[in-house]
Symmetry: C3
Subunit: 470 residues, 3 copies
């Protein structure tokens, strides 16, 4: 079964267009030429929908490339947010996680998520590749054209688009756990997340499993991508514990401002751009007018939600933190983007503004809340991806016809599953000889000098580090 | 009336292709099947042009995403150009202005610019959204397909493309006024610019108003976008006054080199990339061979003009400044890009080189001139966008058949209007309790520490600031 | 002759699809309407393939824009890799080389490479432009439509795509020669490389010359682009000699870590993204299902090879350098990308992983080897582009049916030609009054302060430079 046919039922119904699938539609044209010249008349029909095939596939590739670019966004966002002494390690973790995610998804993950899914999980076969019809077509067998075109899009274009999504999920974890988690256990967790945890959540939903059958709606992944990353991060944060000195003896959180604000801002703008691919490409088709109308609305809503997230977060920060706070505003952009991701195809655009604005507020409050409960999430990944992701998934009930109970079941099921299994893996890693936490010496010195041996800016004179004392 | 039908007359004539609009063209095909099978024959015609619709819309989205990326370009260009102590504030101003621009254009600006324009201004209605035919189509009403396809593109894809243009206009202002203008008044001016000033200029021209009726030509906005931004910046620069210590007692300008040259260079390269979307997308259509031939010429000319701007500016800087100057070269790229923007669809490519080269020279001379008249434009936004924008608009007369008087009227009308209204707004803000200028203490300390509370690179040790003394 | 028709023979055969070119294919449809309504029947045929034309052209523009973005990738990669004191100079060199490459290719290079190629070289005419049919079409002559559509794509869209390739070749040289080669001779060499050396190699291969006739396969340029850049860099490195103090008296290489690791990482991620355009666009067509199936496989293989390059390089670095090394991993990504570039359209994806992994290993070993033979390649451009490029070109024999002798002839012919002519030019420049090497004083002080007068980060306090002593 092809992925595109398996999105949640609500969506399938919405997209059902009988004139596209009915053989009667083009039939009028097909008959005539055959009568007169004896050409294989099916060719004409194929010829027309071959354009759809081309367009659908090209959209996956172009939008997918933009989503890959989000990997750079996360890398810049996090490496600029941490203290200088840990910035190179983030670069290594993030380029490594993107690579591991791509390989793990190729060998294992995609099949678990999309191939022969029955309720909870797909196939345990290894590797994925072009369809046999595609191979025949590439080998010059013209007779395969019809079967290829009937796929709707090239097999691997869909794989490519899904692969950059799993990488996004893994990227979310990196930021929350920065500055104290060791490299190798981080990579091991990344492998587990991208080979199994995310694909299983995906099998339940986009793969056509039990949540899809219930009617759970999550257009581009507020829950499936962003909350999944957020829950995995939360489990890690709880087990790894806060950075040395993050919380003072009196319980107050010590500020740890970003070491390179320009790079953080660049990272957020990269994410904003990439999100057009993330949400726009999740339309999954480009071949019809209805598809591109929807895609246009999606890009507009994505942008409006992010803009509202920024403006409202800045305003709120004035009250909560006492000043207009750039970092809160940047997180507000991300929270707005995450919030709209579950239902960006709504047609009343002011709702996108409201959803993004509420997402920005919840994220800002969430940052405060995490500090209160002494969870140390270095970049605010949990408020921006987990909390805003939950909000966005529930907001679908208001604006896009989602059923509240179903949405809640989806949020909770994904939350319990991802959090529990992540907790077990992080705990097992922590108890293993590897451990997950760097030594106190390395943490004080920084992972760059202490674990990696490459400093981020070796020639700049740094301020004496005042975080480790009290 | 739809935007795409309202571009300047000269362009409409050039694009007039009777075989595209004539019902006779496809007529031959439409009749036959109906005779034999009784299918609704209009479907075939729609089916063909549905592909045009898809392509036109997708081009708006893809090129529009690249134009959004220019926001990151301006953010990097300016935040790297200012002194370290003000770099975070630029990040905040630029992500804020992009957000405000998007919301202001949604609620007010687009309607003023494009809806029911009569001569000077469009509609005062609030908000914008999909057409009723599009809503019907998305709701599953197949009968709406024909009317949707007749639009030529999805309503909100055009909105998205126009929205990123207004954000570009606003971005230009940020750089010129950096390092001394307060945040809140800057945001208020941004709102006025993007909700009203730019949309009114747009109504005169792309919206089909009086300048369009005169035959004013400005393909992608040398005047409409870039000079508009430049005039607004000029008014602000005159009212805000120069940075403390920028001009010595003897009238000489003190050099204020960029604090992060790599980030400035990155910003320019981002803008260069984004400009392919800016100019290429301004073809407004992708559906025909003629459109993509034009679009190809546009991208080539855009690149040649920028390259010529760089090379000539570097050569000229050798004579004017005594050395090959990177910053002059980077500004030369932007000046070349701005210069070609009014007529990038010319078919003799060497003219693009000449136009870009002259733009580069004028920008370089303009940078010198501004210093002479003691106007402090931190990044050279006025030479690069205003002066090169005027040149580009007039150059259309040489290469693309523009009428000199008409072009001059357009340049002057836009200049007088934008400069005057911007002056009034900046002056009113300056005289209000808000003020527009930071205090002397904040300016010496830097806006990052003094106004924002977030330093750009808090851990790097900075050179003692030597600008404030003489 | 058009470029697209002249790719190596093996490729032409693979792409030969009779149903696309046969007039009989659509013939059935063409006859009928004519019989009944007398419409010019050729229009229908054109109308269908006009969509192919549009799609082919649009793909060149979109993927070409991504390849232009690689210029930013190289600029960031190299300017972050050099020591702070030379970083501005890299920014200047790289924006300059992109500009020079574009102009040189417009005036001279493209014609040498693609116009009337006979065996070794094309035409010596100056400048390039749209076809006369395109000009007629843009002037409103509808009768030209058929001839334009028969081109397969807009003339200048192909030019644009080829131009960004030549800029990539030139970018490779910049990194290897950083920190000691003077600006003006570097620009002179860039002009020679982009106006003549690369175009001649291109004429032999993609231009349809003698190597293409032999059946040499290099899909997107492992040899033609990357090895060409690598050989030119190698000649320059040998003549310019190592940086002062790079090799200690005892022959040991002194480490020269990147001065800005975040910017280096950003550069690599930009290159990774751009490579989707580089390899994907090299399919040269988007109009058929077979094209987009191939393009999808290409993007997937490109990503898998890069990911494998990263993972394997990191693992290998653990053994060779004693620790997991970020810089080795980043170079591994590039080596993986270069390796797959000669045959990214393979359908068994695990081969892409193997090819990329081997490329990563060879690059890592190559970095060690260069140090042993005392060649100072600042960013590892020679291992990543030359060595991995040779490997990738030969690997085509294993996975994509290339003939080993033919591939080897191609590798050697290009190597001998490019290395020899580059050596002569670098030597002539070195012996000329210009020289190619900065003075000892300038090298110690840095090119930014000593030659350019613009420091990269003028406000940050730098560590005292400890490289020049022993």
């Amino acid at each position: 079964m092809k992925f595109a046919d398996l999105r949640p039922i609500a969506r399938s119904i919405r997209e059902f267009r009988p004139w596209r699938v009915s053989p009667l539609y083009y039939g009028g044209f097909l008959v005539i030429p055959a009568v007169f010249v004896g050409e294989p008349t099916v060719q004409f029909s194929e010829s027309l929908s071959e354009t759809d095939f081309v367009l659908n596939t090209f959209a996956f590739l172009v939008w997918g490339a933009l989503v890959m670019w989000m990997c750079a966004g996360f890398t810049m966002l996090v490496s600029g947010s941490v203290r200088t002494k840990n910035a190179s390690m983030i670069c290594l973790k993030n380029i490594g996680l993107y690579s591991i995610a791509g390989l793990a998804f190729f060998f294992i993950g995609y099949n678990l998520m999309y191939v022969d899914v029955v309720d909870f999980i797909g196939s345990f076969t290894l590797m994925y590749g072009p369809s046999s019809d595609e191979l025949a077509l590439l080998d010059g067998d013209d007779a395969a054209l019809g079967a290829v075109v009937d796929q709707g899009h090239a097999t691997m274009s869909d794989w490519f688009f899904q692969m950059v999504f799993v990488a996004t999920t893994a990227s979310i974890v990196s930021g929350a756990l920065a500055e104290r988690v060791r490299l190798v256990p981080f990579f091991i967790f990344t492998f587990a997340l991208t080979a199994a945890i995310y694909p299983i959540v995906g099998a339940w939903t986009w793969g056509g499993g039990w949540l899809a059958e219930m009617g759970f709606q999550d257009f581009a992944g507020s829950t499936i991508v962003h909350s999944t990353g957020g829950w995995a991060a939360l489990a890690g944060v709880m087990i790894a514990g806060p950075r040395l000195g993050k919380f003072r003896a009196n319980g107050e959180a010590r500020p740890t401002p970003p070491s390179n604000v320009l790079i953080v801002t660049l990272g957020v703008l990269i994410l904003w751009l990439g999100w057009f691919g993330f949400n726009g490409g999740s339309q999954l088709k480009l071949g019809s007018a209805a598809d591109v109308v929807a895609m246009s609305n999606i890009l507009v809503n994505t942008n409006l939600a992010a803009a509202a997230g920024v403006v409202v977060s800045l305003a709120v920060s004035r009250f909560i933190f006492g000043r207009i706070d750039l970092i809160v505003g940047l997180n507000g952009a991300i929270a707005g983007l995450v919030s709209i991701t579950a239902g960006p195809d709504i047609t009343e655009h002011y709702w996108a503004i409201i959803i993004g604005a509420v997402g920005g507020i919840l994220c800002t409050l969430g940052m405060k809340l995490l500090e209160k409960v002494k969870l140390d999430d270095v970049v605010g990944a949990i408020p921006a991806h987990l909390i805003a992701g939950i909000w966005g998934t529930l907001a679908v009930c208001i604006v896009a016809g989602g059923d509240f109970v179903t949405q809640l079941v989806g949020v909770l099921a994904v939350g319990v599953f991802v959090f529990a299994i992540s907790w077990v893996i992080w705990k097992a890693l922590a108890l293993s000889p590897l451990g997950i936490r760097v030594t106190r010496d390395v943490e004080e010195l920084g992972q760059d000098a202490g674990e990696l041996g490459i400093e981020a800016y070796p020639e700049f004179v740094l301020m004496p580090d005042s975080y480790d004392g009290d």
